[in-house]
């Protein structure tokens, strides 16, 4: 691979631009470049690996057992990518992608525009928001953030630490922390007890899942070493200027414990911001309780030339992500005329059978770890939109008194979703809160209509764009 450090190093045209250097992006870029396509992989982070294999080539942690064997699977994917002929641009942001596959890429305060014949988005997942009272206090962060600190910097959260939420990743992070010699003052499990009943019908599939043995082992290990409180139904962070206490309810009993840090996690959802801003159609996934892009069997979106792979296409995990990256790359290669349709289909066969293995048991996990309603909607005094500090109560009031039908209409009144995070963090919370207030579903109330720039861009950067060749038609303003 050739590492780029300045927008001037970019070519004007690429056969394929891959966005995101997690397992899906790296696998897709490697396969396509190995077959002779001109490939650019752009990634926001300083190093490749995405979040799951974050800093896999650079982590300062010497004890390999600490992060677990699954983490180190990223090494091989990273090594193959390093040996490929692809251009790799770390620390760069794609802030726009047009239907003509024109991309605006920004890095170090400079911006460039280039064209692709195909685009694969591998923008991965983000942690589902967990709006609780006091969650904007310093001292509260996501469990994923704590894991990223560990991977990139060998830094652990210490002092009185409380881990709260649900989902497979919660147990993985707990196990990694315990392996690092850290401890938790409490692990508050918010998995609704009723989930076991609804998930049971999908148990047979899970019994054949490669995740089963691993998952059980992890949970058993954590249970031996940490105090776990299950059936937690309410949670709040308290303190003046910094977290000091965690208040929770379990089994109908309210408890307050001292805490320096509260780590929150309740699963991951597809990162659909760029897909949506690029006009790719989305659909609601009722098992994963999230929006995901509408895709065909090759990961193609409803916008010609744009495909999505990895967890951004719907949550399936890191190992499946690499395989899904290869599937989208094969179709891109066929589209580019580098391989034939027959070759594409032939080469996809072993990948698809591998993928089927990872699919087994996914529904069981989705149902088991569905977060409870009270942790998905914002309570009366709980902030839903952190940027603009809009509470659940304000949203409900606007919905009922102002006749607001969905998140896009709400923006004009409360500004939720209008801050710098551009609705990334509050999108699901706001849709679910509106749906609850209207007695409707998130699917019916819809999601923020996202627009470019996908990430904020400075006026100076925009001003540096070349003037269009077409005549600029202007008229009086309104």
């Amino acid at each position: 691979m050739k590492t780029l450090s300045h927008v001037n190093d970019l070519a004007e045209h690429y056969d394929l631009v891959v966005i995101g250097a997690g397992p899906a992006g790296m696998a897709a870029a490697t396969l396509a470049a190995d077959k002779g396509a001109q490939v650019l992989l752009v990634d926001e982070n300083p190093t490749f690996g995405g979040q799951i294999y974050r800093a896999v080539s650079s982590t300062p942690l010497k004890d390999r057992a600490l992060l677990g064997a699954d983490y180190w699977k990223g090494e091989a994917i990273g090594a193959a990518f390093s040996q490929s002929q692809a251009d790799y641009f770390p620390g760069a942001t794609v802030w726009q992608l047009s239907p003509e596959l024109e991309l605006g890429i920004s890095s170090g305060g400079r911006t460039a525009v280039l064209h692709a014949r195909r685009v694969i988005m591998a923008t991965g997942a983000l942690e589902r928001p967990m709006p609780i009272k006091g969650w904007t206090l310093p001292g509260v962060m996501t469990a994923g953030a704590a894991q990223i600190l560990l991977k990139t910097s060998g830094v652990a959260v210490s002092g009185k630490v409380v881990l709260a939420g649900c989902g497979p990743l919660l147990w993985l992070i707990a196990a990694q922390y315990l392996a690092a010699g850290k401890r938790f003052d409490a692990i508050l499990d918010t998995t609704p007890r009723g989930n076991w009943r609804t998930a049971m019908k999908d148990l047979p599939g899970f019994l054949t899942s490669p995740y089963l043995a691993k998952g059980l082992k992890l949970m058993a290990k954590v249970r031996r070493q940490a105090k776990i409180i299950s059936g937690v139904t309410a949670l709040a962070a308290e303190g003046e200027g910094h977290l000091a206490r965690v208040r929770y309810t379990a089994g109908g009993r309210e408890v307050v414990i001292e805490a320096d840090h509260l780590l929150l996690h309740q699963g991951v959802t597809p990162n659909i911001n760029m897909a949506s801003a690029s006009n790719c159609e989305l659909e609601w996934d009722d098992a994963q309780l999230a929006w995901k892009p509408k895709l065909d069997d090759w990961g193609n979106t409803t916008v010609p030339g744009i495909a999505i792979s990895g967890d951004g296409a719907g949550i399936a995990g890191a190992e499946a992500a690499a395989e899904r990256g290869r599937i989208t790359a094969l179709d891109a290669l066929a589209g580019l005329g580098i391989i034939s349709i027959a070759q594409r289909d032939e080469q996809a066969k072993p990948i698809r059978s591998e993928l089927n293995r990872y699919d087994r048991g996914r529904v069981f996990l989705d149902r088991l770890y569905q977060p409870a309603q009270q942790f998905r909607v914002a309570g009366e005094d709980t902030i839903a939109c952190r940027c603009e500090e809009v509470t659940g109560g304000q949203i409900r009031k606007a919905v009922t008194t102002l006749n607001i039908a969905g998140p896009n209409q709400l923006k004009s009144f409360l500004r939720c979703g209008m801050g710098p995070c551009q609705g990334r963090l509050c999108g699901l919370t706001v849709s679910e809160t509106i749906a609850e207030a209207r007695g409707s579903t998130p699917e019916a109330v819809g999601y923020y209509r996202l627009r470019a720039p996908v990430k904020p861009v400075t006026l100076a950067e925009l001003a540096s764009l070349k003037q269009s060749e077409t005549e600029i038609r202007t008229v009086a303003r309104g």
Partner: protein, 100 residues
């Protein structure tokens, strides 16, 4: 509180925070270096002025905004720490609601 695990690899990287010299490690982002140095609150909310600290460390939440080498509102979690960087917190500058 944050602790570096004992004996991590990576060489030290010197930078300043609000003019005060600090040390991070190679591999750190600006945000992880600040947290490791015990600096959690990096800015005040632009709405209420309440203190805020990095929340997701993966580029989503925009809570980790800091000024780096004079350029404001940068996502500290996405910028690799470099020697000599001048980082500034954005505390107290946040409350921008106008009283008209």
């Amino acid at each position: 509180m944050f602790q570096r695990l004992p004996d991590p690899s990576g060489s030290p990287v010197s930078f300043t925070l609000d003019g005060r010299p600090l040390e991070g490690r190679q591999g750190d982002t600006v945000s992880s270096a600040l947290l490791a140095a015990g600096v959690e609150t990096c800015r005040s909310s632009a709405v209420s002025g309440e203190p805020r600290a990095p929340y997701c460390l993966m580029g989503v939440c925009f809570e980790c905004l800091v000024t780096i080498d004079g350029v404001g509102n940068q996502q500290g979690c996405l910028v690799a720490l470099r020697p000599g960087m001048q980082v500034e917190t954005q505390i107290g500058r946040g409350k921008r609601e106008l009283a008209r």
